[in-house]
């Protein structure tokens, strides 16, 4: 359960070709990936927390990107899973676009894992950067995606 991650994001956090039929299905599958990676200890509980957050306002930020996230006690370490879906998903996005790129973010309460929270904040902020978005849209090689994310840690 306590798999140690030296870096914020590794290949295990990247899912290319996620086969999901809906937003709920995508979140369920990615929550399971988080449980496998030791990011959360209870995928079902975490999924429920994320879907609760989704019920408040959409996390489809436009430009085919969604950033579902949950602050949950089942989170062991603040982290994220990045996914590209095989087909676009309805997400009630701000610009009406369907989602094919998902950043599922997991966070704990404010006092834990500040460094990782900082990375989540940095990644979220970068999604407003057109060049960064073009880069991650164009790249499908997990190794290269890891490198793109690693650059943000500097």
């Amino acid at each position: 359960m306590t798999k140690k991650e030296t870096s914020f994001i590794s290949k295990g956090n990247i899912v290319i070709g996620l086969d999901a039929s809906s937003k709920e299905d995508a979140i369920t599958k990615l929550a399971a990936v988080m449980e496998e990676n030791g990011i959360v200890s209870d995928a079902t509980k975490f999924k429920d927390d994320v879907l609760y957050r989704e019920s408040l306002t959409t996390t489809g930020i436009g430009n085919n990107i969604a950033i579902p996230h949950g602050k949950s006690e089942t989170v062991n370490v603040a982290s994220l899973v990045f996914a590209k879906t095989t087909k676009p998903l309805e997400w009630n996005s701000l610009d009406g676009s369907k989602v094919s790129i998902i950043f599922l973010m997991a966070a704990r309460d404010k006092d834990s894992g500040k460094e990782h929270l900082k990375m989540l904040a940095t990644v979220a902020g970068k999604l407003m950067d057109d060049d960064f978005v073009a880069q991650i849209k164009a790249e499908n090689d997990p190794d290269k995606l890891v490198n793109i994310f690693k650059k943000l840690e500097d």
Binding site: L56, H69, K71, A107, D109, K110, A121, A124, G125, D129
Partner: protein, 104 residues
């Protein structure tokens, strides 16, 4: 050119707070305005606005889905309030609205 200060805060404090902050900076820069943005997220206050920052600002932008902490700092200022999603969706509109508030 105008001088703005802003506070961003969302419910979880994980993502929208920081996206809204970046989008405000992006479009203020594009418009030739100055802006300093305080984030009130899961990491607490960051880039906290000083009394001087606030005093020198022409207007204040609150991009928030929750209460602004230490809101009394902004008493007497012209304040534009929007939700974080609106600002994430259309940063240029937020800056344009702030100018409207100034009568520009």
């Amino acid at each position: 050119m105008s001088k703005f200060v802003a506070v961003t805060a969302c419910i979880a404090g994980v993502a929208h707070t920081y996206m809204a902050a970046q989008n405000l900076k992006k479009y203020a820069k594009k418009n030739g305005d100055q802006i300093k943005v305080e984030t009130q997220g899961a990491m607490g206050f960051e880039n906290k606005l000083t009394a001087k920052d606030i005093a020198e600002a022409d207007a204040v932008i609150f991009a928030v889905d929750t209460n602004v902490r230490e809101q009394d700092r902004f008493e007497g200022k012209k304040i534009l309030k929007m939700g974080t999603s609106e600002v994430v969706k259309d940063g240029s509109k937020a800056i344009a609205k702030a100018h409207e508030l100034l009568g520009d």
